[in-house]
Amino acid sequence: MTTVSPELIATHQLTEAEYGKIVQILGREPSYTELGIFSVMWSEHCSYKSSRLHLKKLPTRGRYVVQGPGENAGIVDIGGGYVAAFKIESHNHPSFIEPFQGAATGVGGILRDIFTMGARPIAVMDALRFGPLDDPTNGARNRRILAGVVSGIAHYGNCFGVPTVGGECEFEACYNGNPLVNVFALGVAKKDEIFYANASGIGNPVIYVGAKTGRDGIHGASMASAEFTEESKQKRPNVQVGDPFLEKLLLEACLEAMQTGAIVGIQDMGAAGLTCSTCEMGSRGGTGIEIELDRVPQRETGMSAYEIMLSESQERMLLVAEKGREEEGVFRVFRKWGLDAVAVGQVTGDGLLRVRHHGEIVAEIPNQPLADSAPLYDRPHTEPLRTAPMQVPVFASKNLTHDLETLLASGDVCSKRWIWQQYDYQVRTNTLAGPAAADAAILRIKETGAALAMALDGNARYCYLSPREGTKLMVAECCRNLAVVGAEPVGATNNLNFGNPERPEIMAQLVESVEGMAEACRFFNVPITGGNVSLYNETLGEGIWPSPVVGVVGVLQSGTPVGVHFRYPGRSVLLIGGAGACDTVHFGGTKYAKAVLHELWGLPPALDLDIEKRVQAAVREIVRAGLAESAHDLSDGGLAVALAESSLGPESVGAEIELASNLPAELLLFHEGPSRVLISTAEPQRVAGIAAKHGVEAQCVGVTVQGEIVIRNSGVELIHSRVEILRRIFEEALENKLRA
């Protein structure tokens, strides 16, 4: 047996104090296998040891919440006897090392989290962050990573048969060495047929199902919990390889086996594989689990206990079945789908995770402390890191129409069609509004006749300038996206992507961001039902900007979805929430500052939560009353970009806008003050009436016209262009950048 040396402890990324705790729990020195088991369970990725303390600040309960954080996915009630299970997860580190497989297995992992709860996945969205595609030194690599990630997501989701219905993609230099791949998935189940990761019933068999175990992905969880160095690129064997076909079979087999009533508990083998699934199920059930590794289906010969326990081979599940019903309830079903299903152990009453290999006990660890007594750190935090100045640079536009074109061609704003056209966004025929069609994706629920709306948002620029305010803006925008399609938010999931938490100025970003999220979620009454924390997003000491991402899910009772595009000429254009206020300090985080001025300064736009809430309520009511022919919120690039995006529909209907404002033209057109929505309607009086009822400004700013976009302020023409010219710029930009 390998002796445990200080070097060995260090390579497992355990501190001396953590090692001391292990010895204390065991009452002896751990074996090599046990050390491996502890190291993955206590890794940042699995234990949330740096963030747990702060995550407790988030609201997790609400009227619709059936299951909050702590399970494989959060669950909300969507009415009609059905629930939605959803969560977001990151696969940042693997996607940098091997973009295609890293992203593909990211999709695979989150899909298993959903169907392990008994829910059939019906939608995927993704939030992607890359280094700039035209970066002078890293451009070629960034382009390769983007292309690889997108085809990885497409490969997995398309073959599995889940539509990828939305998401977002932005570019910043801080992601040059550390792209972000956050995948959200949502599934639907009957409310009384939810499954939990719980091992109960002493003597019940523990059954391994799905793909065979290989040496891939060993220590993936620990890799995701460390900074990148030059050697990281050598870690390619740590990235798992996905097989969406196998996952599709696993889905069908699991859902079918669940119908037999013979399954007591089930958990997927994701990060930390067999280790995590056994000890977490035992811990939740208050039981022990005994497994025999010789019975585990293996892809390679000569695997050690350490390797089998730590492998992150994909498309595997562990389940506990009712004793005596294994054949009819599990084995028969998995045989039908051509999958392995092997009893590898049983539930015991002693609370221990006992692992045997070749007739010997190679690990014997109390489940509960292994799963739940991971170290908890209150890491020191100071002022959030930021180097951007408060001082406003001098700027004056020479040509505002040209500025609008520059924005529409910029990576963050331009059409992402090149990306989403590679995703099957329609399979399962539920997609009422897919990518870029509306501010939120909308899926019908065939079983209940209702529909779900969902959106993802993140804005690292805002969060860098102020983690607290930036995060609040992000939550507000995501809820607004739902309001714009008429949906009421019922729950949310978050992905907290940050740098190294051991640096106090980074930890401060995390703390402030979580507190901002807590405040906004409480205010909008949107509980966080689960999520993911991804720390150590640093390469060679260079950290990413604070990059929280939130996904909000809402319910729509009925109605035809309202899209972003103007549909008919001659309609009134209303700006709900008005032109908004903005000074130059709050202009420094905008896309205009980024794409046109190449600057970053000051503060993110100012958010008044109360006004935001009233605007959302007004818009929701307007849309639900069927009064809006189009609706689009103002975000990246402000009014001018929102107007252009609304004009780029299949009908090429633009607008003539007449403003009367004292703001400088750049600010008036491009400021990103929140709480504003652009609507086209045939019934402006009724729209204004509803807005007034909510105490919300609803300016009629113009009229839709065929093929043109004109914006005037007090009679002075600021922007004048043709829809088809802007369309070409908007739609071809990404492809052009990728071809570079």
Partner: protein
């Protein structure tokens, strides 16, 4: 009428076809498992989209050996109506029930979008309810949908009026813009676009229903 929707391991548009037939068309539909060697009492067969057997080796290459495909071949040779959609088209081509082959899209990427299809012939049980030249809005979603065949076969298809649909704007490089073809006996059709996804106005188009409606009336008059 009763439609049988074949389920291969990896089929993922099986439920969509089943739903379109039952809910949007109001006809009966049953699933047929891939290892079954008879089709039961169905009046027509749909091979749905997806990735049968993971589409390993080549799209449809493994599916053609499945027991159910032997039954489908017998059904087709007895004159039964067989519709292959997307992966189903690929399987029909691999199984030799339709000529030609489907290879990687010219753009080398998976493409999901709505396309316009021109109905080239109404002399078929799949398009009799359409009008000649009618343009349908139907989505595509495939990575290997570029239809190819040698020149003689293509000429023959045209001469025998067996090109059912052509793309108005070719999205994948298919020879002569071909989106769907018929067997010589005209009772087997394969098409890359997904009519089952265009069977409900809520989904953006109900133009695809004409394919299923044609099948129902062909069966009613049989």
């Amino acid at each position: 009428m009763k439609f049988g929707v074949v389920v291969f391991p990896g089929s993922n548009c099986d439920h969509d076809a089943w739903y379109a037939v039952r809910e949007n068309l109001g006809q009966e539909a049953d699933f047929i498992w891939h290892d079954s060697d008879n089709l039961g009492d169905v009046d027509a067969v749909i091979l749905p989209g997806g990735f049968a057997y993971g589409d390993y080796l080549r799209c449809g290459a493994i599916a053609k050996f499945s027991p159910v495909m032997q039954a489908v071949k017998r059904f087709a040779s007895d004159g039964g109506l067989v519709l292959g959609i997307c992966n189903g088209f690929q399987i029909l081509v691999e199984a030799g029930l339709l000529p030609g082959a489907l290879v990687r899209n010219a753009g080398l990427k998976f493409v999901c979008r709505e396309v316009r299809l021109k109905t080239e012939t109404t002399d078929s049980p799949f398009t009799a309810a359409a009008t000649r030249g009618q343009v349908l809005r139907v989505p595509i979603a495939h990575g290997e949908g570029c239809y190819i065949a040698d020149e003689r076969t293509l000429d023959e298809l045209e001469a025998e009026d067996r090109v059912v649909f052509r793309y108005v704007e070719n999205p994948n490089g298919s020879a002569r813009d071909i989106a769907g073809v018929l067997s010589r006996e005209r009772n087997v059709m394969g098409m890359m676009p997904h009519p089952e996804r265009a069977s409900d106005p809520l989904m953006g188009s109900a133009d695809g229903l004409v394919v299923f409606r044609s099948m129902v009336s062909a069966l009613a008059h049989a």
